[in-house]
C-alpha cells in the first residue's frame, strides 16, 4: 500500500476568501460573500498556499475551519477511501505507464486528492462535469468503475471511451462526465454551452441541474476562459468554474503566468464572485463547491472557485520536475492531503488504525482488480476504425486505409 507513513499531526489548513470589496461588482441578488460551511473560524496555518497574496485583503477574507469535526465518521471514512483510491490508482497508473501498458501523455492527480474528492462530493448525480486531461480521480469519484477507467488508459475496448480517448479523454454519459479535454481551456466553452442548454430547458431551483467546469491555474490565462466566463455572466448560466490551482502550469508558476495571481479574483472582470479554498481540505472544498453550485442552480449565478493544492510529482508521468526546488518539493510532501487526513482520523479517534488499514487494503484490491480487468480486456477491433466517424451516416464518407487506392480506375 503506497500511502505515505503517518507523520506528526498537522492542523489542516482551511481558508476561504471571497473576491475582495466586490460589492459593487456583484449583480443584484448575488451573494456578496461565501464561506465554506464550517463554523469555527481559524487563521490560516502553514505557509501560504501557492498563488496566495492576501496582503491587500485585510478584513475582507473570512477564515474558517474545515469543519472536519462536524462530519459524520462514515462520511469521513468514505472520503478517505476515495482519496486513497485516487492515490493508489494514480500510483499504479504511473507504474503501468513505465511498463508501457499506458501510452501517450498521462497526468496524475497525486497531491490533489482532497480537491478531487471534495469537488465530486459536492456534485449531484444530475450535474454535469467537464474536466481536463488530469482527470482520472474525478472519473473514479464520480462513481465510474475503476476497471473501466484503467481499461481506457490501457486503450482497451472496455474503457470508458472504448479505447478511443485514453488517459486525457475519459467520458461517461451515465456519470454525466462530459469529458476530459486535452486542449488547455478547450473544455470551458462547451461546459458553458452545457449550462446554456440547462437554462434553455429548465427553470432555476434548488434541485436544478448545474455544470461544474474544472481547469488548472495556467488555464486562466487563455482566451477561452475570458470569453466563457463573460458569456456565463451575461446569460446567467448555472455553472461553477473551478480552478484547481496546483501552483504550476507545467513548470511555470502562477506568479509568472498571471498578472493577477489571486485567481479567484479573476471573475471580477465579469462580476462573477470568486472564492478561494484550501484544496488540501476535503470538507472545505466540498462546502465551497456546494455553495457555489447552489448559487448556480438556484440563482443562475455563475461562480468561480479556486482550490489551492500541490502537485506531488511532475506535470505528467514522464516529467522528472527538475525545475522544482527541493523546498518546493518538500513543501508539497508536507501538505500531502492523504496522510494528513489519515493522521487526523486516527488521532481524533474517528477511525482506528485497523479501520484505516482495512480501507487501504480494500482499495489496494480494487485497483489491482482494475489493472487485471484492463489487462485482460481486448483492444478495440481494427474493423471498427470507422465506427465512430459520424453520428449520422451520409453517402461518400471515407472508409479508406492508408494503402487503399482512392477509387478504382480502369484502363
Amino acid at each position: 500500500m503506497a500511502v505515505p507513513q503517518k507523520r506528526s499531526g498537522r492542523t489542516p489548513r482551511a481558508r476561504a476568501a471571497t473576491a475582495p470589496a466586490s460589492a459593487p461588482s456583484v449583480r443584484p441578488g448575488a451573494p456578496k460573500r461565501r464561506r465554506s460551511g464550517a463554523a469555527t473560524p481559524s487563521g490560516p496555518s502553514g505557509p501560504p498556499a501557492p498563488g496566495t497574496d492576501a496582503s491587500g485583503d485585510t478584513g475582507t477574507i473570512p477564515s474558517v475551519s474545515s469543519g472536519l469535526a462536524a462530519e459524520p465518521p462514515q462520511v469521513l471514512a468514505d472520503y478517505y477511501r476515495q482519496m486513497v483510491l485516487v492515490r493508489v490508482f494514480e500510483q499504479r497508473a504511473a507504474e503501468m505507464y513505465t511498463r508501457a501498458k499506458i501510452g501517450g501523455y498521462c497526468h496524475l492527480n497525486l497531491g490533489e486528492e482532497a480537491t478531487v474528492v471534495g469537488l465530486m462530493a459536492a456534485l449531484e448525480r444530475t450535474d454535469y462535469l467537464f474536466t481536463t486531461y488530469r482527470e482520472h480521480g474525478y472519473a473514479l469519484c464520480r462513481g465510474i468503475d475503476p476497471g473501466r477507467v484503467m481499461a481506457e488508459l490501457f486503450g482497451k475496448a472496455t474503457g470508458v471511451s472504448g479505447g478511443w480517448g485514453g488517459s486525457m479523454h475519459l467520458f461517461d454519459t451515465d456519470a454525466r462526465l462530459l469529458g476530459g479535454y486535452g486542449i488547455v481551456g478547450g473544455q470551458i466553452p462547451p461546459a458553458t454551452g452545457a449550462a446554456l442548454a440547462i437554462a434553455y430547458r429548465s427553470d432555476p431551483g434548488d434541485e436544478a441541474e448545474a455544470v461544474m467546469c474544472l481547469m488548472g491555474d495556467g488555464t486562466t490565462n487563455i482566451g477561452a476562459f475570458h470569453e466563457s466566463l463573460n458569456l456565463a455572466a451575461i446569460w446567467n448560466l448555472p455553472i461553477v468554474y473551478v480552478v484547481v490551482n496546483n501552483g504550476l502550469g507545467m513548470g511555470t508558476t502562477v506568479q509568472a503566468a498571471s498578472g493577477e495571481p489571486d485567481l479567484y479574483r479573476r471573475g471580477g472582470a465579469y462580476r462573477i464572485p470568486g472564492v478561494r479554498v484550501d484544496g488540501d481540505d476535503v470538507i472545505a472544498v466540498r462546502d465551497a463547491a456546494r455553495q457555489a453550485l447552489h448559487s448556480a442552480r438556484a440563482e443562475r449565478q455563475p461562480m468561480l472557485v479556486e482550490a489551492v493544492s500541490s502537485r506531488l510529482r511532475g506535470h505528467s508521468v514522464v516529467d522528472p520536475a527538475r525545475y522544482r526546488s527541493p523546498e518546493d518539493t518538500e513543501r508539497a510532501r508536507r501538505l500531502d492531503p492523504v496522510p494528513t487526513l489519515r493522521s487526523h482520523l486516527i488521532e481524533t479517534g474517528i477511525l482506528d488504525l485497523a479501520a484505516v488499514t482495512k480501507i487501504e487494503a480494500e482499495v489496494e484490491d480494487v485497483v489491482t482488480a482494475a489493472v487485471t480487468f484492463a489487462d485482460e480486456s481486448p483492444p478495440p477491433a481494427v474493423a471498427d476504425l470507422f465506427a465512430h466517424a459520424y453520428a449520422t451516416p451520409v453517402p461518400n464518407t471515407p472508409h479508406r486505409l492508408p494503402a487503399d487506392a482512392l477509387m478504382v480506375s480502369e484502363p
Binding site: Y128, F130, G159, V160, S161, G162, G163, W164, G165, H169, F171, D172, T173, L178, G179, Y181, I183, G186, I188, P189, P190, A191, T192, G193, A194, A195, L196, A197, I198, Y200, R201, G223, A224, H226, E227, S228, N230, L231, I234, W235, A387, H388, A389, Y390, A391, T392, V394, P395, N396, T397, P398, A405, L406, M407, S409, E410, P411
Partner: protein, 330 residues
C-alpha cells in the same frame, strides 16, 4: 416552387426548422437586434424571442464552443459566424472539439450543431475579410461541410444540416445572397455528401461549388451557342466529397476544368484534380486545369482585386485551352 433569393431561402429555412423543432435555436453576433450583418435572421428575434435567437458578444471561440456544449446536451444550435474569416477565432472549437467529440469519446456524444457563415471576395473588403477557407474544414474528419450555390440548395442543405447529428459547416457566399431561383415548397432536404450535375454535357466537365458553380453554369450555357457541350458538376458537399459523380462525369467528357474562388495551392480544386486524375486517369485527354484566385492577400483596390479573383472570362479561357490541347473542334 417559389422564386426567391438565396437570402430568403436561408431565412425561411431557419424559421421553418425553428417552428418544427423546439431544440433548434440561433446564436451569433448581431443576429437579433441588428437582424444579422447580412439580414438572414431578420425578424426572427421578434418572432421567437431572445431564448431562441441569442445575440452574443464578440467572442467567437466562446460562443461556438458554447454551441458545442449545448449540442452535446441535445440542443440543435445554429450558429452564425459573421464571415468565414472570423471562424479562425473559433477554429479550435470547431476542429479540436466539435469534430473530435463523437469519435474521441468512443461514440458516446453527438454534436448536432450547424455553423452558417459566408465567404468570398470581390466586395473590396480587403485581405482579412475576403477569404475562402472552407478547405480548412473540408479537410477534417468528423465535420461535414456543404456549400450551396442556389436558393434551392440553400434550403435543402441547410435543412439537412440542421437535422444531421454531426457538426456541419454551411458555407454561404456574400455574392450569392441576392441571387434568385426556384425553391421547392414544403419539406426539402438535399442529401449531404452528394454532388449535383447541374447541366449535362459531353465535351468537358467543369467542377465548381458556391459562387463559382453559378459562374460555371452561366458559362456552360453561353458555350451552347458555340456548340460546346459542357457538363457542370456542383460539388455542394465538400465533406464528404462525392468523388464518384465527379469522376463519372469526366470519364464521359474526357476533359475537366475546376474553378474556385480560393487560392490555387492546396485549395478545394487540388483535391478535385487529384481525384479526377486517379478516378478517370484512363479517360482523361488533357490535364485537369484549375482556375483559382491569384496567391496574394487580396488587395482592396478594385483593379487589383478584380485581377486577383477568377471570373467567367478566366473559366472560358481555361475551357478553350483545354479543348484546344485535345484538338477539339465543335
Amino acid at each position: 416552387m417559389t422564386e426567391m433569393s438565396y437570402r430568403q431561402a436561408l431565412h425561411d429555412t431557419l424559421r421553418a426548422e425553428m417552428l418544427r423543432d423546439e431544440s433548434v435555436f440561433l446564436l451569433g453576433e448581431e443576429i437579433g437586434i441588428f437582424e444579422g450583418s447580412y439580414k438572414i435572421t431578420a425578424g426572427l428575434l421578434q418572432e421567437f424571442g431572445p431564448r431562441r435567437v441569442r445575440d452574443t458578444p464578440i467572442s467567437e471561440e466562446g460562443f461556438v464552443g458554447a454551441a458545442v456544449g449545448a449540442a452535446m446536451l441535445g440542443l440543435r444550435p445554429v450558429v452564425e459566424l459573421m464571415t468565414i474569416n472570423f471562424s479562425l477565432l473559433a477554429i479550435d472549437q470547431i476542429v479540436n472539439h466539435a469534430a473530435k467529440i463523437h469519435a474521441m469519446f468512443g461514440g458516446q456524444a453527438a454534436v448536432p450543431m450547424v455553423i452558417r457563415t459566408p465567404g468570398g471576395g470581390g466586395q473590396q473588403l480587403g485581405a482579412t475579410h475576403s477569404q475562402n477557407i472552407e478547405v480548412y474544414y473540408a479537410h477534417v474528419p468528423g465535420l461535414k461541410v456543404v456549400a450551396p450555390s442556389t436558393p434551392a440548395d440553400a434550403k435543402g442543405l441547410l435543412t439537412a444540416s440542421i437535422r444531421d447529428d454531426d457538426p456541419v459547416l454551411v458555407v454561404e457566399n456574400l455574392a450569392l445572397y441576392n441571387t434568385k431561383g426556384d425553391v421547392p415548397d414544403g419539406d426539402h432536404v438535399t442529401e449531404i455528401g452528394t454532388a449535383a450535375v447541374t447541366k449535362e454535357g459531353t465535351d468537358l466537365t467543369v467542377v465548381a461549388y458556391s459562387r463559382a458553380a453559378a459562374i460555371a453554369l452561366d458559362v456552360a450555357h453561353r458555350l451552347e451557342d458555340e456548340h460546346i457541350s459542357v457538363e457542370v458538376v456542383d460539388l455542394r458537399s465538400l465533406r464528404p466529397l462525392d468523388r464518384e459523380t465527379i469522376c463519372a462525369s469526366v470519364r464521359k467528357t474526357t476533359r475537366a476544368v475546376v474553378i474556385e474562388d480560393d487560392w490555387l495551392s492546396y485549395g478545394i480544386g487540388a483535391e478535385v484534380a487529384a481525384t479526377i486524375q486517379e478516378g478517370a486517369f484512363y479517360h482523361l485527354d488533357a490535364p485537369v486545369r484549375r482556375v483559382a484566385a491569384a496567391e496574394v492577400p487580396l488587395p482592396y483596390a478594385k483593379s487589383l482585386e478584380h485581377a486577383a479573383l477568377p471570373h467567367a472570362g478566366d473559366l472560358l479561357a481555361a475551357i478553350h485551352e483545354t479543348l484546344d490541347a485535345t484538338g477539339f473542334a465543335p
